[in-house]
């Protein structure tokens, strides 16, 4: 029983770190702001949440704190990405290699 929980924790930490590395790599390599947002969103959701799964697996008795943090991250992550994305579009940051831009049609007059 003891080693099985540790096995889950080791797996979760490895996969979480892999997602963090991929997210930061995406943040550096992506061409423009909006694709960069896509990459960084992964770090906060998959990276930290998987680490928290490791904490939940390792401390089976008091798992409440980890779950509260998981819920906060899963709810808060997309909200911040959306806020940054709309802020970027509103101040007019161009999209590289964009096929269509639906928001531009709606947003004729900047505030």
């Amino acid at each position: 029983m003891h080693t099985f929980l540790e096995f889950i924790a080791i797996l979760a930490v490895i996969i979480g770190t892999a997602f963090s590395v991929l997210g930061v790599l995406g943040f550096i390599r992506m061409p423009d702001v909006y694709t960069r947002l896509h990459a960084t969103g992964k770090v906060s959701i998959f990276g930290v949440v998987l680490l928290l799964l490791a904490t939940v697996a390792l401390t089976p008795l008091e798992f409440g704190k980890g779950l509260v943090l998981i819920v906060l991250l899963v709810v808060g992550g997309p909200v911040t990405s959306h806020a940054i994305g709309s802020a970027a579009h509103r101040i007019g940051i161009p999209m590289k290699r964009a096929i269509r831009d639906d928001l531009a049609a709606i947003e004729q007059t900047p505030p």
């Binding site: 540790e6 490895i14 963090s20 997210g23 960069r36 990276g47 930290v48 704190k65 909200v79």
Partner: protein, 91 residues
């Protein structure tokens, strides 16, 4: 705690600290203001991961509370900054 787990946790901690350094360099060199905002948010998230790893390594649940506080404040801070950038005034 078996030594494999301790090894994996320490390696993950080292990787996350290196990622934070990369992000801080990227925020320093950022092309536009939104890049810096994304970088700052990313540093906050990676700091969250470092705190959780420290909680695991030192087996002290207090660091999860610190991570909770950082998550809440980082979230509000990023939203406020994004709104300030979009509308050029806060309220």
């Amino acid at each position: 705690m078996s030594d494999i787990l301790a090894l994996v946790l320490n390696i993950a901690l080292a990787i996350h600290i290196a990622l934070i350094a990369v992000c801080v360099w990227r925020v320093w060199r950022g092309e536009n203001v939104i890049d810096r905002l994304i970088g700052a948010d990313l540093v906050g998230t990676l700091m969250l991961a470092v705190l959780v790893l420290i909680a695991l390594i030192w087996l002290n649940a207090a660091y999860i509370d610190v991570a909770l506080g950082l998550a809440a404040l980082g979230f509000v801070g990023t939203i406020a900054l994004a709104k300030y950038i979009a509308d050029q005034q806060m309220f």
